[in-house]
């Protein structure tokens, strides 16, 4: 009996998985597409393989159909609120990396409530609280306090912060926390260390076991993902699907969501514009989104403002169930300090109302509220 996902991932090697995906044939793809009932991880490999590329239109049609059947003609909307850019980690791709000489801020109560006011005026009921990792400024006490401050203003509170202990998650759930996003970034253990050379985040296994701790703590929803652009996205996505498959069976009372953060060109500390290590084309991202949907009809799939407007206007119909809009990725970005440095540049700068209108025009009802604290 496995105790955590670490016991599972060790049964696989990166090279074997990669070779297995690349060896999938058109026959495997057709088998996966035409299958009645549930698809398995081998089907998922076929759907993300290069052999599936000529079948993208079929995949998109099936993905659209399966999504509509499960989620209806609706789209959930949420928005991130950055609380702090303090961080003791070095992540080679991140604007808030410790070695990046930027002005550091952590919002105080008044500043948080000012942000809340602006976000509420946009119509939001679902907020995602975001911080870097620095126990001195944004430890569990600070996060707990932020949740208590915001809980009466929003129907649903999610967070994306450093990995915590099970008892800390339990404490935050009791304060009103609904879901937690924690992306592994890459499942390639050796390369993980290269991308995260310093800080607590450099501990691969501790991060990998975070969803296990979340499941045990009874969090309602766990968000998984790979930072696309670090390593081969196909192999990384297989490991992420394997992770999901394990978690669904182990923590069956938890809901799961998946995101597709695609690394964009970024500035290093010398101010040079750098390209991602691995490029993923728009076609490939569509393939991945559809593959997840065909593999798992019940999974929530999320698309952020990292992607540009034209792409979002079309891709939201192909399996996506939640979107952010009007996002700022700097602490105080809504009310306090709109001009400060963002974690990453967003591509779709349209307001939430513009996004809502676009969705309605496409026959989708924007859903602002899909949780209520009376259900806790």
């Amino acid at each position: 009996m496995e105790n955590t996902f670490v016991d599972i991932i060790h049964k696989y090697t990166w090279a074997e998985v990669q070779a297995s995906i690349l060896s999938k044939t058109e026959r495997d793809v057709l088998h996966a597409l035409q299958k009645q009932g549930k698809r398995n991880l081998e089907d998922f490999k076929a759907l993300i393989s290069p052999a599936a590329q000529p079948h993208l239109e079929e995949m998109a049609k099936l993905s659209n159909l399966l999504t509509k059947q499960r989620f209806g003609n609706t789209m959930q909307l949420f928005i991130p609120m950055y609380l702090s850019n303090e961080c003791k980690n070095i992540c080679t791709y991140c604007g808030f990396s410790l070695d990046n000489p930027i002005k550091r801020t952590t919002l105080n109560d008044t500043q948080i409530l000012n942000e809340v006011k602006v976000i509420k005026a946009m119509g939001y009921e679902h907020i995602l609280l975001v911080t870097g990792e620095d126990t001195k400024y944004v430890g569990v006490d600070y996060i707990d306090h932020a949740i208590q401050l915001t809980r009466n203003h929003f129907a649903q509170i999610s967070m994306e912060v450093q990995p915590l202990e099970q008892n800390e998650y339990e404490r935050l759930v009791a304060s009103g926390l609904h879901s937690v996003l924690v992306y592994q970034e890459t499942y390639h253990q050796d390369k993980y260390k290269t991308h995260h050379p310093k800080g607590k985040k450099s501990n691969f296994n501790y991060r990998l076991e975070t969803p296990d701790r979340l499941g045990k703590a009874g969090v309602h929803k766990i968000g998984l993902g790979v930072l696309i652009g670090l390593e081969d996205w196909r192999t990384d996505s297989f490991f992420c699907a394997l992770h999901l498959d394990y978690l669904e069976k182990t923590y069956w009372k938890t809901k799961y969501s998946l995101s597709f953060p695609r690394l964009r060109p970024y500035l290093d500390k010398q101010g040079n514009l750098l390209e991602p290590f691995v490029n993923m084309s728009d076609r490939e991202l569509v393939q991945l989104i559809c593959a997840y949907r065909i593999f798992n009809q019940e999974l929530e799939l999320s698309l952020s403002t990292r992607e540009h407007a034209k792409f979002r206007d079309n891709v939201h119909k192909l399996g996506i169930t939640s979107m952010s809009a009007g996002s700022k990725t700097n602490p105080g970005g809504y009310a306090e300090a709109p001009e400060s440095l963002e974690q990453f540049e967003i591509s779709d700068e349209r307001s939430p109302q513009e996004i809502a209108k676009m969705l309605q025009k496409n026959g989708y009802e924007p859903v602002w509220k899909d949780w209520d604290l009376v259900l806790e």
Partner: protein
Amino acid sequence: MGVETGIINMLKIANKEFSSRLFTGTGKFSSSKLMEEALLSSSSELVTVALKRVDINNDSDDILKHLKHPQFNLLPNTSGVRTAKEAVFAAQMAREALETDWLKLEIHPDPKYLLPDPYESLKATEELAKLGFIILPYIHADPVLCKLLENAGAAAVMPLGAPIGSNKGLKTRDFLEIIIEQSKVPVIVDAGIGAPSHASEAMEMGADAVLVNTAIAVSENPVKMAEAFKLAVQAGRMAFEAKLAKPIKHAEASSPLTAFLDN
């Protein structure tokens, strides 16, 4: 049960009579306006709303605003709760804000298939009955559980036909037949009804009502589909009331097999 008026008998649940035996859900529509039009076209008189989707304390909530028609009785549901304790708390909040004792009890600790927890549902029904709620629990097509819920004070039972949202029809048919045979409270087939023919089938079988959501909301033309369900439910119920003949599975013996006893 009920008195004969119009084309089908009225259905009575607790203290309320319904002339429509089609209950509807409010999720998955592409807009609240379209939902309103479809529900009006369905002639439904009992409409379930998820507490998680509406702001129960806000009178101008977009969904609630579109349900302000005298024929629509609201049936708040507890979708999202995982335990009896959470359900009882949510029910009390709903009653206070929406001013109704009616409650569709949904307790599904499994967010993937939204399958109901029998143990927690029974526990919650016992507690809510003591608090005076009119409880319609959404549960598996489990005949024993249905009797236990009836004894605990449920006003009706809502066994599922197939996994929710699956459109698969009456996959639990054999168990539904037993539930209908044994139940002293109305039986409403909920979940899995994907086509008007499925609804007719449930009504012909003797179900007191059906609840439909996905099949209407996700169709190309929800208004038309809602009417199709309305007609199918009426047709099925009429056939039941007219004592639908059972299909004959074998040839009739040409001479009576017991004729020899007369000689």
